[in-house]
Symmetry: C2
Subunit: 402 residues, 2 copies
């Protein structure tokens, strides 16, 4: 198998480090808009770098990506860029006859009149519209296969197959206790993206209603995360799992709640109240700036904080239903300790936890364990081999009966 | 009496409207950096404008202000600009042999090593250093004679003279229930100035310790304001009264607490946590902007909000001590309803409440009821005539025994 990895940022770099320890592939071409980032990712592999090469590509240039896939005879394109580049990369893969994997889906747009009740354009809609073309070409677009979405979807399918007869609710729950030395307030992920994600109308799925939206930060709950993380305030956030899981897993309700914590939620609400979340520019002393860019410029760059970060991050899927006529409730989860991921891979925990999952997916495609054509989420496949590989990679998952 | 009023902003304009109804003065020259603002203030007086004239002056140009005072044969300079211009106007008045009145004193600078324990340069220090020159010239600088400081200091002196034998604490307490139609969040005063005032180390005076500082937002308390305003969360804020009252009134302790309300306090804390209160510029997409200027640019201009504002603002002085051997506690206060001040004077309540006090002070100087030389606060004078004029002007004060 030959792979074109597009994007050598935090997640792309961690992908190379995880893949370098596995034998399932022949070659990975690491491509980035900034050639020096791609080269740095390959160089950092040291002796393990022989199966990797670096090149420059503009992810927004579909023709250039198609040409690169053809020239490098790649079987699959792994997209590790930000969601703005999903569509050109997805189309380039189809055009070049390659399979495609991403970790976030095409962007949503709120309903123009009733944004907090009704979906507008949903996450992934632009990709699902192209399903027939992919099926006819016999190529697979494996969408949303990071940790969330991705591993969370695998957990949902696993619960449906092995743990429950009937499922009342599947709720993805994400929480952490990460802190950064020397800062009162230093998000471990891009504040720009977090504002985008958290202030978009959250989406919920119910069997009777289908997909619908709510106001931001709806349905707050305190969720108790495992392995010492403890209780964190979680709220509904727009996320791909809610769009993916109901397509392949039978449940009454599907939600995604992000453990932002009450301090972070209040901070985002305050930014919104003051209009500082806006991306439209305002005039300040004769110059024009986007308030959200100013907020980002006032905070440290999260990519540089791994060395000063402490704590664990947890991704998981809480499922409530019945088994053998008895009520049951479980939380299937995966925890990464930042100290461990920094020591073992030189990668910050949040980034590393995202990166391991597409590598496992590649391995399952390479050995034929997972195969298919069209637009499929991780929950469309047998979950057991995925979970077994997670443990084999040295990063086991857990389950809590509650 | 001929007066030079410098500053035709909200407060300066309200001063002309209040003064126009009184006969104690011969002429007021209204001067502003922007001549059209001065002209608009005079024109708005209609038939009452005959004793007023408009001119342009740069308040930072001491020589120009001195020349204007001499040319216009003014007896007194009334400073209605922002505190950056206190020192040039104060010096210009002395140089021209005029008396001087302001509503805020020269600026403070925090202690370089222990900002939240020890005073650095205090509010008014630069003015008090010049006391001897004013005394020798036989001219009066009547400092801090707005509503707070100003009327609050008059209340303190009144309490000491007529209501108490011994005073344990004098605490100025300021609160409002103003709301603005059509805005979730619209401060009724400059957010730039409020950040400055509230994030400076608050100052406290105690007889045993003298002046000292604390961290911002210290000693929160809920104070119940009269006339339907009700309970508001108040915190210590740096303010002139704490520097003025102990010089002329005997008390064990003097504080100033601002009823910002918990929402506003949390908003200011969040801005500080994110570094958005900073005035030093940050680089955003190649341009340089001050984050605090961006925050101000995102909010509506409070000067334009009078028509959409509802509610009342209260300024007052709470005093605790003993009288005739019995414990006593009173709150002396002055409330302005925005609907009333808009209807009667076309001025927003906060601005109008500030403006009435220097007009009363001018009237007391004009008829010789108040006189003196040097740097004096309102509490250096007999409070009764001031309070009587407040009632005579149609805006009575109140007292609550508690």
């Amino acid at each position: 198998m030959r792979v074109l990895l597009v994007g050598a940022g935090g997640v792309g770099t961690a992908i190379t480090r995880i893949a370098a320890r596995r034998s399932f592939f022949d070659h990975i071409v690491v491509a980035d808009y900034d050639l020096s980032r791609a080269e740095a990712a390959v160089a950092a592999l040291g002796e393990g770098s022989t199966r990797f090469s670096a090149t420059r590509v503009d992810a927004s240039d579909q023709a250039a990506v198609t040409a690169l896939l053809t020239q490098e005879r790649c079987d699959v394109l792994l997209n590790a860029t930000d969601p703005r580049f999903v569509m050109p990369l997805f189309e380039a893969a189809l055009e070049a006859g390659a399979h495609y994997i991403d970790m976030a889906m095409s962007l949503s747009y709120p309903h123009p009149e009733r944004p907090y009740e009704t979906c507008g354009v949903k996450l992934g809609d632009a990709q699902f519209e192209r399903a027939e073309a992919w099926e006819q070409a016999g190529r697979l677009a494996l969408v949303g296969v990071g940790v969330e979405p991705g591993l969370s979807d695998v957990f949902a399918r696993y619960a449906a197959e092995e743990l429950f007869d009937e499922i009342e609710e599947i709720g993805v729950r994400d929480g952490a206790n990460l802190t950064v030395d020397g800062y009162d307030f230093a998000p471990s992920f891009s504040i720009w993206t977090t504002i985008e994600e958290c202030l978009n109308p959250p989406v919920i799925w119910e069997k009777d209603r289908g997909w619908f939206t709510t106001p931001p930060f709806s349905e707050p709950e305190v969720f108790d995360f495992p392995e010492g993380i403890g209780p964190v305030e979680c709220v509904n956030v727009e996320h791909e799992e809610v769009l993916l899981i109901p397509r392949w897993v039978d449940a009454e309700r599907v939600t995604f709640k992000y453990g932002l914590g009450d301090e972070f939620i209040e901070t985002l609400k305050t930014l919104h109240k003051l209009g500082l979340d806006r991306t439209e520019k305002v005039t300040v002393g004769g110059t024009q700036v986007s308030p959200r860019d100013v907020v980002a410029a006032c905070l440290p760059d999260p990519a540089t904080l791994g060395d000063r970060m402490h704590g664990k991050t947890c991704a998981g899927t809480w499922v409530k239903g019945t088994k053998d006529g008895q009520p049951r409730e479980v939380y299937l989860y995966h925890v990464v300790d930042n100290q461990w991921s920094m020591r073992e891979y030189g990668s910050q925990a949040v980034v590393w936890q995202t990166a391991i999952n597409p590598v496992i997916a590649l391995e399952l495609l390479a050995d034929g364990t997972w195969s298919g054509a069209g637009i499929l989420g991780a929950e469309a496949f047998d979950p057991r081999p995925f979970l077994n590989l997670l443990t084999e990679y040295g990063s086991p998952w857990g389950m809590r009966d509650q």
